[in-house]
Amino acid sequence: MSDLLSGNELCLLRGDRCLFTDLNFALSAGELLLVEGINGSGKTSLLRGIAGMLDFEDGNVDWHGIAVTKDYQAFRSDLVWLAHKVGFKADLTLLENLRFESGLRNTSMQNLGGVLERLGLARLTGLPLRVLSAGQQRRVALARMLLADAKLWLMDEPFSNLDSAGQALVVELIAEHLAVGGLCVVASHQGIDLDAPIRRITLQ
Amino acid sequence: MAIWNFLHKMASPPHFYGLAAKIIPWFAVTGIALFVYGAIGGLFYAPPDYQQGDAFRIIYVHVPAAYLSMLAYVVMAIAAGIGLIWRIKLSHAVAASAAPLGAWFTFLALVTGSIWGRPMWGTWWEWGDPRLTSELIMLFLYFGYMALRAAIDDTAKADKASAILAMVGAVNIPIIHFSVEWWSSLHQGATLVRADGPAIETTMLYPLLAMIFGFSFLFGALLLQRVRAEVLFRERRSRWVHDLVMPAGDTQ
């Protein structure tokens, strides 16, 4: 099987509500999974479930054909997660935050300059994250994503708070990531205009 | 594998619900019988203690309560551990149901001990005595366990989080039991559970044993009854509970 990531018969409960049952998907290298649905339909929850931060009531997610719960740690080193919240410390500077990330993931900071330049953050490295604007903070989260060098990107509304140049940049980054055989799972309210193969899930 | 299947069948809520209903009367009857024998034997037939006179008779409540407070904790911690590791929901229900019972026994042991301590040691309470303190700590552990559960709305999450606490708190049990040997304490050393057999006269011993086992059976009955209620609540949205509460044909 060439499917790298697959979800089988997934079912998720939140409180009294059943968000979805019998959800299936399969994704191979270079493919993108677009999760759509109205507000509150469970997109964020699905992403958290895939990442292993929420337990599915039923079903399991496979990575390289093996259930992720079997070797959760190996799975984690292959994935990076862009959430609603940036997940950085507001009191540390941009640079300190990214340094910490690279220590945690044991990656090099070699192409840091390039990444920051590309994201338009180069002049902000010395500022504490607290003073950055909403969009700038999202860009820092994107920087983590690029530096992490992970195979699977989980992105929850990657376009929010970004200006139009920023949104175009995200599409470009995704396209590059797919081109080198990466995988993306994206929850978004707006379509993505890409050449790469896109699979869709619509939750209701 | 057979054992595994058996366990899973046992742990299935509807099966347990029915089975427990059959066991409870036996436990209750045995418990009450032992309790009555122990109470009569202890209060009327056992000779007064040569040192303590009749005051010693409180032993028939104090010791069973003290033992049960520990037993309940052990049951709770083991059930919580099983639930956490093998993800058996019934097990969590057992742990959750054991906590309030255990807290009551602990409270009873503390109160009776302290009433007994007044004539024996000339004080209701002695801070810094290891046995007394560790027993009090156990009461707080029970409180912490229940408070943590109450603070989490999501039952599944409450189960797992409180299970950790129950397991961590289990270190207190050996401390309670061995405290009298490890440190100088006002409290009695072990009289019943000793390598060289119980050091107590049989007319005093038998009623005491009866009380201990009577308390245990009653605890078992109460625990099972509480677990039944808990299971019913947890499974409130399931088919079988629905059928149970509203038998077929009885539509509203």
Binding site: Y72, A83, L92, G103, L104 | A161, I164
Partner: protein, 232 residues
């Protein structure tokens, strides 16, 4: 709990990164370091003030006051151990990082001790002097406080992890931690009192050391599991 094989060379690198980050944060918000310290000094200073300074009474209650102050100071700062990480989403990122979570939990608890526990140990001799504690006692106090505060940080990390998603208050945290911390307090205070009375103190110190090692080995796993549950 997952079993972690030795396949990750950078095991200590994530550990170091977390410790470094938390120390930098503490450096940027000196309040976090000064807080427990200040609290500690305050309790010790307020006491004579409120109780009225009778020489011998002070001397008698010295070890107790120091230990209670240390315990409260530790509890006070524990509340925020994972809270800010939880609120700004960093906790999710830590959990999803390729490092073994118990390792990161250990790093967080250690950083907490460095920031909140160690300064307290270092400042305690000053307070001991203000309570007219005899000289040879101070050494015993330092040793017991060291072991004690480490245990408190480790135990506290379990409680903080269990309660992180729940409340802002420390009430539940204290309720969970105190029973486990009580032995530390009692042994700590008693050992120092014994030292003041020139009685043998080895037993107390051994106990505290054993408790410290026990918590150092077991607490990270409990904390990691609790964090996963809380972040659900």
């Amino acid at each position: 709990m997952t079993v972690y094989e030795e396949q990750f060379p950078g095991l200590w690198q994530g550990f170091a990164a977390v410790v470094k980050r938390d120390l930098t944060l503490a450096w940027k918000r000196p309040g976090d370091v000064l807080n427990p310290l200040f609290f500690f000094a305050m309790v010790s200073a307020l006491f004579p003030l409120a109780v009225g300074p009778s020489q011998e009474q002070l001397q008698l209650s010295g070890p107790g006051v120091v230990w209670v102050a240390a315990l409260l100071a530790a509890l006070l700062s524990l509340n925020s151990l994972f809270l800010s990480d939880f609120e700004d989403g960093s906790l999710d990122q830590l959990i999803l990082s390729p490092q073994p979570l118990p390792m990161l939990a250990l790093a967080k608890a250690l950083a907490h001790w460095l920031v909140a526990g160690l300064p307290l140990v270092l400042v305690s001799p000053m307070i001991a002097v203000s309570f007219q504690m005899p000289g040879q006692t101070v050494e015993v106090m330092l040793i017991t406080l060291t072991f004690g505060t480490i245990s408190l940080s480790m135990l506290g990390s379990i409680g903080a992890a269990l309660t992180v998603g729940l409340h802002r208050g420390t009430a539940l945290l204290s309720l969970l931690i105190l029973p486990l911390a009580m032995p530390v307090l009692i042994f700590g205070a008693r050992t120092v009192s014994l030292a003041a009375a020139n009685d043998p103190v080895a037993a107390g110190i051994y106990f505290l050391a054993a408790y410290c090692i026990l918590t150092l080995t077991l607490a990270p796993f409990a904390t990691a599991t609790a964090l996963r549950i809380s972040s659900e």
